[in-house]
Amino acid sequence: MARVKISGLHKHFGAVPAVRGVDLDIADGEFTVLVGPSGCGKSTLLRTIAGLEEVSEGTIEIGGDVVNDMRPRDRDIAMVFQDYALYPHMTVERNIGFGLKARKLPPPEVAKRVKRAAEMLGITAFLPRYPRQLSGGQRQRVAIGRAIVRNPRLFLFDEPLSNLDAQLRDGMRAEIKRLHQEIGTTMIYVTHDQIEAMTLADRIVLMRDGVVEQQGAPLELFERPATRFVAGFLGSPQMSFLPGRLLNGAGELRLTLGDGSLVLPLPQAKKLGGAADGQNVLLGLRPEHMTRAHGEPGQGVVRYDATIELVQPTGSRSYATFRLAGQPVIAELQAHDVGRPGEKLAIDINLQRASIFDAGTERTL
């Protein structure tokens, strides 16, 4: 169990920067997910924590010790790799016990702990087999077994589920979450999958171009994104972005979209710090900010008569695309609320929940 503190971390490969000044403070027992598009530096950051890459600048502390110059083996961490990285020339049993043997634990103790880890993951039957005789999901279980058997103070996961098919991925994701609940050790998990990030994390650290774009609880990032990038990265289907202009007059805040033909009154509760009259902005609408109109529209809700262009049913819900001031917008509706393309439908848009970004800086107002 350990707190992880990263201060002013830089890592560059030759002249190419991969991580550019990251500060993180991860509490003991926290499940932190580093997420971002490929090339954002999340894997590099994880590998510097593991000690597999040297730090160019800054410090990494694990459990109060600065580990910058410590070898990976002395950091008391375990890591699960994207390609599982099982030793193909060893049986599952030896794979799991390898780290304990390398640390010179007595063989009976190794056997006991391997057995316990295998039971925990339901892989006892595979112990005498070789990795090549296992399926992808079973291999990933062995890789996790190899990590938990050592009882380290910190777990690192480097995109552990990305080689699995969708169905297995859902199952393993739940198991990793359960594992964290059971053993309560600090975990840092790298993924490019926003669903994994949302479902697993106590805290999401969203990275872009080697810096932290925003960090916080999953719902906080989802509902109050700091930038357009964060808003666009989290959520599926993506948030729709509509260019518009703020009108700040007569004590009332309004938003004109497109060529100015559509004017939306913004709710009072929407505090827009430093918003100037005539400022160019982006209105961000998530699919779930819209519903089919029922009864009277509530506070901060705008009713719009939409013509549905495209319907994508998912079973329980349907994604309906329509145009708002010339821009395509996706709304998530009840499956039976929408029929076929071309249908006219009154849509309620909840502007209380919508995000508004400065069109220039793309930061939330």
Partner: protein, 279 residues
């Protein structure tokens, strides 16, 4: 339709067998002829019509080749020198290749410099080496020959294994490092076993190069450390060609090669099936 397919299959199978049969004859007849010559009395060598099986087989050529011509000494020298040089070449080659592949030691130039050692024709260096060896007392010693062969096989060993290590995923060694290994342990316990097929392949090449080497053996040895290929030289003397002795020694020299081939093949196949752990 089904009948036609079946007929076609039978025909293609027959064609395959025919091809394999012809190829087998092509390979086996010279071997058979060599073996037969080694047990023929001298009069039957070039008899017309050819003698396909001698009526009175004899081991006299083996006796002469192995003892009178000291073929056995040459064979032992060849085995000791080739195996030692192969082992050294594989050992240092593995270390060097790993260092190039994982740490980019010496940048792009050092690894190329290693390979460039082979650009020089051997004849250009044999005279200085001969003089150096004579000065240091390495001339006509197995040790001297082992050093020379190690140096000459090293560039190819390094490059074969360099290519092998480069395509090997790093993550297993990373896992070993995190698991609790030192770099050295991760190298021996994870990287080397995984690279075994590459190491064996490079070693087989090195062994073949040493086993068949003639030129350096001829110049750098004389009465004690001479190797098998140089013994054959004696069979083409002023008395004419000693076909029986030459064949006998050739047969004897096949034994270690075949043993090594079987061993290496088993290891190569085992190594290949160990691969493919991804996905």
């Amino acid at each position: 339709m089904g009948g036609a397919t079946k007929r076609w299959r039978v025909r293609s199978e027959a064609g395959r067998m025919l091809f394999i049969g012809i190829y087998l004859l092509f390979v086996l007849i010279p071997l058979y002829w060599m073996f037969i010559t080694s047990i023929k009395p001298s009069d039957d060598y070039l008899a017309v019509p050819p003698v396909w099986f001698p009526s009175q087989p004899t081991l006299v050529h083996y006796n002469a080749a192995l003892f009178a011509y000291r073929g056995l000494t040459g064979l032992m020298n060849s085995i000791v020198v080739s195996l030692s040089a192969t082992a050294l070449s594989a050992f240092f080659g593995t270390l060097m290749a790993y260092s190039f592949a994982r740490f980019n030691t010496g940048g792009r130039h050092l690894s190329f410099w290693v390979l460039s050692q082979r650009f020089l024709p051997p004849i250009a260096v044999v005279l200085p080496i001969f003089l150096i060896y004579r000065t240091f007392g390495l001339h006509d010693t197995r040790f001297g020959l082992i050093i020379a062969y190690t140096v000459f096989t090293l560039p190819v060993s390094v490059w074969m294994m360099f290519a092998y290590f480069r395509q090997m995923p790093k993550s297993m060694e990373d896992a070993a490092l995190v698991d609790g290994c030192t770099r050295w342990q991760a190298f021996w316990q994870v990287a080397v076993p995984l690279a075994a097929p590459g190491i064996v392949a490079a070693a087989v090449f090195a062994f073949i190069a040493c086993w068949t080497e003639f030129f350096f053996a001829l110049i750098l040895t004389s009465r004690y450390a001479f190797t098998l290929p140089t013994v054959f030289r004696a069979f083409l003397g002023f008395q004419g060609a000693q076909y029986g002795e030459a064949s006998a020694l050739a047969i004897a020299s096949l034994v270690p090669s075949i043993a090594l081939g079987v061993l290496a093949q088993r290891h190569l196949v085992r190594g290949l099936t160990l691969g493919a752990v991804r996905g």
